[in-house]
Amino acid sequence: MAGVVVKGRFPRRRLFRVVTANVFRYLFRGAARNWLRNIGGTAPALSSMTLLLLLSGLVGMIGFALHNLEEAQAGQASLLHVYLRDAAPDADVGALWTRLAKDPRVASVMFTSKDDALRQAQSKPGLPQLAAATDYNPFPASLDVRVKNIGDVAAIDNLVRNDIAVDAADPTSYDQGAYQRIQTVLFGFAVAGFAFLGLLGFVAVTVTMNSIRAAIHSRRDEVTIMQLVGAPRWMVRGPFVVEGAITGALAGATAGLLAFGLAMLGMTQGSATFTQFAPGITVSVAAIAGAMVFAAGLGLGSGSSLLSVRRHLES
């Protein structure tokens, strides 16, 4: 067909390539080059940020372990063991079981015989020796009562402790105030942990802001020239933000890897004790913690440099 102009797509693609190349050059390549050139000035910020992020990662993992510990304690605290007299007739035990099972505050009732109690005790550290020291089975049979609301455990304890089927000397596992004490301690840990993380964050932001301010100061002439030849604001400010992001990402990556490595070391070195010491800390949890430390580094680095640029770079 004569007279039809066919428009090629090539120029648009080429334009996209040119714009992308220019943005990459002025924003990222320039920032990377300047970051490398200023490595002497950035090193203190990088190392202190790495240390702070590592501490944050470790504090975070300890916090997670404590949270798991609290949940485990809450689970244990809501389980009331009602110890039965050795000579309690089955009818009395059955009556108590029925009474408990009908109580709306109770979620479930399980019977543990003396033999089951012995078997369970033998799986716990230290107790097999105790069990072997006597000729008879010292562990009582029990009704294991799961209470729906942890606040009702005391009331259930009060209900059963004088029952005829219950051991008068050691009626239940209820320890008044034990759970509250654990909660108070954990709350204290949580407050201290958040305060510590806040302090670390503040120090990390201040250190990075200062390093970016020093970079702005050392390149003041260059910045002025860029502004005077009409460079848009993002082109002048962007490289400093990218520099901060590079510092944060490197610090985050190093700290994340170290935190992950330390958690793995703990898991492999003391696999038995570690699960008791830091419950819930697994390989995937450590990996997620490492990734979060990296993301925090990236965010802190770019965020604090953005703040610094806004404060110290005039238009």
Binding site: R14, V19, A21, V229, G230, S315
Partner: protein, 237 residues
């Protein structure tokens, strides 16, 4: 013809001191104008107002249809791309070659300019100022006059409608100063409005172009081209 630059009742105060006081002026395309006056008269303040390095305390500054007195900080770069600037101390980026310095002004203004296009146009601009063979030299490898010519090439490579120069011959010898003035005259001949702040009496009196005289922040004289007498200058110095 619409003026490229227009000042209407512009006052700029630094505390109680008036650096510029009720200045009115207009520059048309292709006009080469000198801005003279003793030190502290307000020449640099006037140039900074054009480039929106500072804002006026009162009055309006219009540059190629843009209100420089009210423009937002985020849009200042748009204004600056319409104004080529030449400084006494050249202000070249020391890490870049002469050609890269010139190309930078093109690419920061328009990201659609490819490296090849920028390089080509930078080479053309450098050839126009007589430095076609020094494109790969770094600023420290060039003389003061050569650096000033690179700065001039950078200022005009994006073909801005207005070129301002602050003491462009201040660091140059006599011969180089005249070469620079020839280049400014050539640029004006192609339609760019050129405003040069200078102390160089000989250049102002010999070139016989329009002269604006500032004294203590006030525009005391606006002599049209061809009426610049040596005695008029001496009366003010």
């Amino acid at each position: 013809m619409r003026p490229i630059l227009e000042f209407t009742g512009v006052t700029r105060a630094y505390g109680p001191r008036l650096a510029l006081d009720d200045v009115h002026l207009a520059l048309k395309p292709g006009e080469l104008t000198f801005l003279v006056g003793p030190s502290g008269a307000g020449k640099t303040t006037l140039l900074k107002l054009i480039n929106r390095e500072i804002r006026p305390t009162r009055g309006e500054v219009w540059v190629d249809g843009i209100a420089a007195h009210t423009i937002k900080a985020s849009r200042v770069s748009e204004l600056r791309r319409r104004v080529g600037v030449v400084f006494q101390d050249y202000k070249l980026l020391p890490r870049l070659t002469a050609k890269e310095n010139v190309a930078l002004a093109l690419q920061v203004g328009d990201l659609r300019v490819s490296d090849e296009q920028a390089s080509e146009r930078a080479t053309d601009a450098l050839e126009a100022v007589g430095l076609g063979d020094r494109g790969s030299s770094f600023p420290h490898q060039l003389s003061g006059g050569q650096q000033q010519r690179v700065a001039l090439a950078r200022a005009v490579v994006a073909q801005p409608p207005l070129l301002i120069a602050d003491e462009p011959t201040g660091n140059l010898d006599v011969d180089t100063s005249w070469e620079m003035m020839d280049l400014f005259a050539d640029i004006a001949a192609f339609g760019t409005a050129v405003l040069i702040a200078t102390h160089n009496v000989e250049i102002v009196t010999r070139l016989q172009r329009r002269v604006l005289t500032l004294v203590e922040g006030r525009l005391v004289r606006d002599q049209p081209a061809g009426s610049t007498g040596r005695m008029a200058w001496l009366a003010l110095s």
